[in-house]
Subunit: 333 residues, 2 copies
């Protein structure tokens, strides 16, 4: 084991768009686990739009500060254990931050089953898959035959949420940026239609793609796409509020979409926010169901793996700009 290791520090809190100079690569002494702790070797760091939101202020976790090692979840392997129930070689998912080694309390860690490929533990069998599953099924409550719209549909969560809606018998429409992503949605992931939000009037394009209105909207982006969906919702529609990526990478969030709350009233809509951790007691059952669909080929998993710890800042900046398809992660070891 090395005596020092590399880590990436959030050097400065961005006031507007995130840029490379907000990060700093540094070398630190390799930490040693205390009683009840484990030393983890980070294998793959998960890139998530929420990483950027953590820099804006308190969310479901406290805000990041300048000088902190950048926070982030990762698939990691136990290198040394001073805790019962975890042994060297065991796999866990933990908030290690962006570094090669991390010491974390074992209390909240769950040993993961080995899976092939390992990366699935961070995509479909990780937070992304579970977020798609609970957000769609619990907040969206789609019924067969209904129309489901998913935004950021080529992203990690969206690409799975849309496919789950199709598996549940819904007409599925994805919103994504650019013709290439839209083609992927319909040609490879089985979406019934795709709307390119960069191509002009999203509200009108959604009306054409959803002639009976939108019964369920799985919202990963907020902002203008949410507004366009609000105006196309069917009576008694449900909106699963998962994330607001359109609003993370800038100054303070702008005003909310028009139609709030007017259209919520007249269309009797329900908007429900959720955080996947709230469903932790039901993750095992969800994972078993996801596994069945992946193994049958009904659910296709797209991953976007970048190599090297030093590439984490560029990987996150690129994710916020929408350059990834499927679940983005960085291979650290």
């Amino acid at each position: 084991m090395t005596q020092t290791h590399r880590q990436i520090v959030l050097a400065e809190i961005p006031q507007d768009k995130l840029a490379p100079e907000h990060f700093r690569l540094s070398t630190a002494e390799c930490p040693a686990p205390g009683e009840g702790e484990v030393l983890l070797r980070v294998l793959y760091v998960s890139l998530d739009a929420a990483n950027r939101a953590w820099m804006q202020g308190a969310t479901y976790r406290s805000a990041l500060k300048a000088g902190d090692v950048m926070a982030g979840g990762a698939l990691a392997e136990v290198a040394e254990s001073r805790a019962e129930g975890l042994a060297p070689g065991d796999l866990v998912f933990a908030d290690t931050g962006w570094r090669e080694y991390a010491v974390v309390p074992a209390r909240h860690l769950t040993k993961l089953p080995r899976s092939r490929p390992l990366t699935h533990l961070i995509s479909v069998y990780g937070i992304a898959g579970l977020t798609a599953y609970f957000g769609l099924l619990e907040c969206g409550k789609p019924k067969a035959g209904e129309t489901v719209v998913v935004s950021a549909a080529a992203g990690a969560v969206g690409s799975l949420a849309g496919q789950l809606a199709r598996i549940k018998g819904c007409r599925t429409v994805g919103v994504a940026g650019g013709a290439a992503k839209c083609a992927l949605l319909t040609a490879e992931l089985g979406f019934d239609a795709a709307v390119d939000y960069k191509a002009g009037d999203t509200r009108r394009a959604l009306r054409a793609a959803c002639p009976d209105g939108i019964d369920v909207y799985f919202d990963n982006v907020g902002g203008e796409v949410l507004e366009a969906c609000l105006f196309n919702m069917a009576l008694h529609g449900r909106i699963a509020c998962c994330g607001t990526v359109s609003q993370y990478d800038g100054a303070a969030p702008p005003h909310g979409p028009r139609g709030v709350p007017g259209l919520i009233v007249t269309k009797r809509l329900t908007l429900a926010g959720f955080v996947v951790m709230d469903f932790a007691d039901r993750w095992p059952a969800a994972l078993a169901e996801l596994r069945t669909w992946v193994e049958s080929g009904a659910l296709k998993v797209r991953e976007d793996v970048i190599d090297g710890l030093e590439n984490l800042p560029a990987a996150l900046i690129g994710l916020l700009a929408g350059e990834n398809v499927g679940k983005r992660m960085v291979k650290v070891a």
Copy 2:
């Protein structure tokens, strides 16, 4: 019976604030009922903020047009019947419009029990009471000990919703405009606290009045008060979206409040819009429960009765400016 009667026509669709010149008093021939219809003599016209929203565009009913008799619900008495099940003297609530006599199909009418005072049929036992009941209990789902905030709390719906929350064992905070209304809420209607939204920083005042956050917000107004509540919601809070009176009397509705959808996600909020007609099958049970509370004195009913058909335009304009306390109606006969 008169051969002609008076009615008020919406002469022009307002582009901004509603004003007397948008209405015109006229005389028309008294209509005669056809087969399956009844002739109604209008007793009390209900004034509702939604009357103004109907001029903006389609809501849960089609939009009003210039030249239409102004729409509105009223307590009315059957003057002549050509329909089974309804006889002269029977009381009904119907969308008669603003006029002294109206012919309506009997199909959708329900005979109301006589009640003392009659006006209660238009306030606590009418749409206002039922809206407070279903909005609070079905969308808000308050639990004893929780904090419930109601806006337009001195209004017809709000004054009842807040009292229902108190009856359910909640800490109840009303938002209203001006010191006099706020004093009424705490001194007469049993609210635990009141916030005057005209007195300055509503977000801060709500934080002081709701130190543990808001569990249920019954939203009658939208706009800035909704925004102030969003920032003070407790985790897993519920917002019952009932109306948006802050946005009816002007040009096109402005942008929605900041914090949508960001705070919906991080606080796991649920926003649910509703229209009281959706609960029609459960009105009888709700009315029975409301009656128990009124008769025991637990639920106080405030009414604001103005005399004379010709005063309807001023009564609506004043209601939109917030001049009423409790349920406003105009006595026509």
